[in-house]
């Protein structure tokens, strides 16, 4: 098959588009970064891509609530494109602000209600720090073959909250909560971990969520920030590191079209 194409959609305030595009290219994809206005003018432009990615940043300043305005644009004007992606087994990835956008656009849920959200960190503060992650199940295409990762987070509104305990159970049952913060031992626990293992107070230590198909995935950590060995905070201590953990997520995406 021809090289799969990834569309990286940026809005005013998106700021991780360049490195996210770089990550897809390293993984073997062709990429294009496009302003949301082009897509709003002509949503059909999106149909030629196999992958759509909403990168990190502060879309529209995150002024009203992280990702909310960008999410409304997807929900109100691009639902057909999202539907088309779902129907044709294509992939959608949201990183950090992109995850917030996916969450608030409704694209991750199997009902019209917003079943969960990402809100202010328990500390009320923005943090940039590295976290250990463990994988709860192999349902999500992007996480295939990965057991654990060490990646940076950088956000103020990353605390995962499900609308209720029942919703949380429902999402868990459908394998929609595959990525969790961990204590570095590679295991997933139902108990809420202490800060800084669980850096924002997320319910059930959730760091990433997918739709029921496992083909639309959002995560708070930044895989595009750990592709090269010199991005690891301990690279000068660990000469054995060869490649960054984050690359596997992009490779899995490209691999899905091989």
């Amino acid at each position: 098959m021809a090289t799969p194409k990834a569309l990286i959609v940026r809005a005013p305030g998106t700021n991780c588009d360049v490195e996210t595009s770089h990550a897809f290219e390293l993984a073997g994809a062709e990429t294009e970064v496009m302003h949301i206005n082009r897509l709003l003018e002509n949503p059909a432009l999106g149909k030629q891509y196999q992958m759509l990615c909403i990168p990190g940043g502060f879309s529209y300043g995150d002024d009203i609530g992280a990702g909310r305005i960008f999410a409304n644009q997807f929900r109100l004007f691009l639902d057909e494109l999202i539907h088309d992606f779902k129907a044709s087994q294509k992939l959608i990835l949201g990183i950090c602000n992109g995850f917030q956008v996916l969450m608030k656009s409704g694209a991750l849920f199997d009902s019209p209600d917003q079943q969960a959200t990402l809100t202010w960190n328990e500390s009320g503060m923005y943090y940039d720090r590295w976290v250990n992650l463990a994988i709860a199940n192999d349902h999500c295409v992007f996480l295939s073959g990965i057991s654990e990762m060490y990646l940076p987070i950088a956000h103020a509104e990353g605390r995962f909250v499900a609308a209720s305990e029942e919703t949380l159970a429902h999402l868990t049952d459908q394998h929609q909560l595959p990525l969790c913060y961990s204590a570095g031992d590679g295991t997933v626990t139902g108990e809420k971990l202490e800060f800084p293992h669980n850096p924002n107070g997320s319910m059930a230590n959730i760091a990433g969520m997918c739709d029921p198909s496992g083909r639309i995935f959002g995560l708070m950590p930044h895989p595009e920030r750990y592709l090269d060995r010199t991005q690891h905070p301990h690279w000068t201590r660990k000469p054995e590191i060869e490649v960054g953990d984050g690359l596997a997520i992009f490779r899995n995406a490209v691999q899905a079209f091989a």
């Binding site: 305030g13 004007f77 201590r237």
Partner: protein
Amino acid sequence: MLWEIDIHPAEGQPDLVANSIRGDAPDLGLQQAFGVRAARGYLIEGSFTRDQVEKIAEQLFADPVVEKTVIGPAGDSIFDTGSNGSQVVHVLPKPGVTDAVAESAEKAMLDLGLTPVGVRTFQKYWIDNLDPPEVNFLCEKLLANDSIEEVRKGQLDLSELGHGAAYDFELKTVEFTNATEEQLLEINSNGQLSLNLEELLTIQEHYRELEREPTDIELETIAQTWSEHCSHKTLAGRIEYRDENGTVHFDNMLKETIFQSTVDLMEEFGEANWCVSVFKDNAGIVEFDDRFNIAFKVETHNRPSAIEPYGGANTGIGGVIRDTLGTGLGAKPICNTDVFCFADPRTDSREVPPGILHPRRVMKGVVAGVRDYGNRMGIPTVNGAIYFDDRYIGNPLVFCGNVGILPKDKSFKEPQPGDRIVSIGGKTGRDGIHGATFSSDTLNTDSEKVSGGAVQIGNAITEKMVADVLIQARDRNLYNAVTDCGAGGFSSAVGEMGEEIGAEVWLDQAPLKYDGLTYTEIWISEAQERMVFAVPEKNVEEMIRLCESENVQADVIGEFVPGGKLTLKYQGQVVGELSMKFLHDGRPPTVRQAVYQPPAEQPVSASSTDFGADLEKILSSLNVASKEWVIRQYDHEVQAGSVIKPLVGAENDGPGDAAVVRPCLDSRRGVVISNGMNPHFGDFDTYHMAASGIDEAIRNCVAVGADPNRIAILDNFCWGNTDRPEMLGSLTRAAIACRDMARQYKTPFISGKDSLKNEFMDRETNRRIAIPPTLLISAMGQVDSIDQCVTMDLKKAGNALFLIGATRNEMGGSHWSIINDEKGGCVPRVDAERAKRLYDSVHQTIVHGWIRSCHDLSEGGLAACLAEMAFAGMLGVDVDLSDMAIDDQPQPDNLVRLFSESNSRFVCEVAPENIELFQQGFSEEAITRIGTVTDSESFRISDQTTVLIDTNIRQLKNCWQSVLAW
């Protein structure tokens, strides 16, 4: 109709705003326990139905999972106004103050098919168990800032949002040519022009020759252009300097010292010269690789940050980012560096003079301002420092720096006659009127009231949008020149760009935030996020289309017209006409006196009884203590170029010497950023302070692997009132040191900035507080390959520890002296030629991979350096100082060995197999083997059989981390 939407945390969700208020109140002097709840809210003006407002609330403003809303007409009885005895307080931005959230809300409502007349945001608080005077105290100290916000208690009795009144044009001239000296001074102070009498008389003479009176806008333009902030008239002026070596006359002090040293170095580099553009553009530019150059600028934003810390710091970082965006034909920002100076944040609130903010509030506000702007711009903040001294109480310092990268062929600009003047980005409002002249005045207890208008609030996303289109327009070659609107607004930007040609400006064409601005206000407004371009007429349409395609405001506001005149028009009528020559060269030269007498050296009288206790005290002193609380709030990894992070080591929490970033993801070449500053040394001798600052900045760069022959530096002078000869003397002396050091290190200064008159007059006590002489040296180095970089954390037990460089008995201004209240001692000096040789050797051993870790010695000397290396690596050390010599002193002195702050020194960790190779890289006297890394938590320093310090690395780390762990 005016609708109100209140948004509360839903049941079971934390009230984070209230928690933060409860946490801060005691530090600001409110000891009493009280209850507080918080909500955020929106006021929406427009003819909407309740259903529509509910839709807005549900689909836009509130998060249905974690928040609940209350909706009604503003001030309706549905809103809780204190039913159970609570006092209700609303805090709203004052009319005209930038409200970024409201701007976004207005645009987002259009997506829902609803068009508001206006939107305004507010915060709402319900306060329990406090009497009204205490509530007022809380509002004043914590909840609101009077310079930008208003407080409304009880019901919100508003029926509409103010939108400004229409402006009726009227040309204003000023009776000037026949004015007496007193009248001139009155015109000056009434108009906040900040000109001196000689300048006023020169202007008067000019208009007498023209045989007409000046218009108000002409006087404003001259005042802005001649302001200290824009023209650096003091330091670039004539100075007669006298010290123990005699008298020196300077015609242009900066040009003959710092700038001259760069000119000399560029000549010396010859064919290999790597400086591209120095001291002329918005930032200095040097070569990076075959494709790119890099630009670096550090600015201060001190006065605005003193009055409104969040907005001041916010627009400080916004401004310096525009500096690099407006360098050459536009550089892409790749990282930020931020250095702050504050008084002790633990100061008793009763000791804070009236009229100024508590240092803790200043610090929190400044950090938040830098965080919110830098993070939103997507520029990693990779380096910084915070310095504490009580003399910063009235004048906190905020240095914001930015590095940008630009293609080699986009490094120069030149506007052409006939080019259109195009303004893009933010609209113009009354923001920051008189910022340029205000920052040239001394602050006093009335400053908050008089100068409130000078405070601006930024909107980072507007600037990010500008940056996005600027780079595209640059790469499509759409314009001939670009610069930012900084201090002085359009008047400075257009005035500078058109200096060689002439310009005509159509002020009514500038887009306004609201009605009512006079033509003069439009011209001098310092509204943020605006850039000005010189666009050839044939490209104007494409430029504007490009901006529109990303929702960026763009307008043609004039033309560069040959003739050497600056013509200002409003609705077709000339409102001002000035000759560029008079504007830029007409300022009368002043000769200023500068004297310096270094204080006599005093012996050290204090002594130590417990070196271990001294070390703990140093590690927990504010300047040395961990700044992790600040660093983690900055995104230091966006753009994915992070190589050496600000916090390093086994637990990601050790203090890195310098940051390394890789700006091009397809290359291994790196940029290194560090800084050096030590105001305490200035109390001894500003020459040695400056020399030490330069050495510190360079050695920090070298410690991580930068090539010592490719480091460029910047100066930022922040001083007290240089109208006093001894103040100007101490500054001139520092500038002379800069010249000398730059030459000897072969390290060129490429840009600089100054902020003078940093003094605070406490009108109640008549106490004048001048900041200590503060020179920030910012360094930008380069590494050929990032894979060669080293960090400061110890790596492996069994490795050897070496001290590199000479130690002298230099306890003056050291941190050991500070914690012991010791005023004596000899201040550290710099032997630059010796240091240069050493740095070349260190670099070679790093390139060869013989050094596993390297840390420079600075505050706290050898003991603090070893402690930081050990607890960053979570490994122990066993050190014996008996081989460590002290220069010019035959007697061993363990106090000096442990705590002297002699410059140009490092500790290096070397693996056993590389010891011999490493040693061959240095002359014998330059290095001393002092110990070994151990696989333990033990931190042990001895002198043969005498144990000097025996403690545990966790204990030391805890001392270092707990002080500022807010």
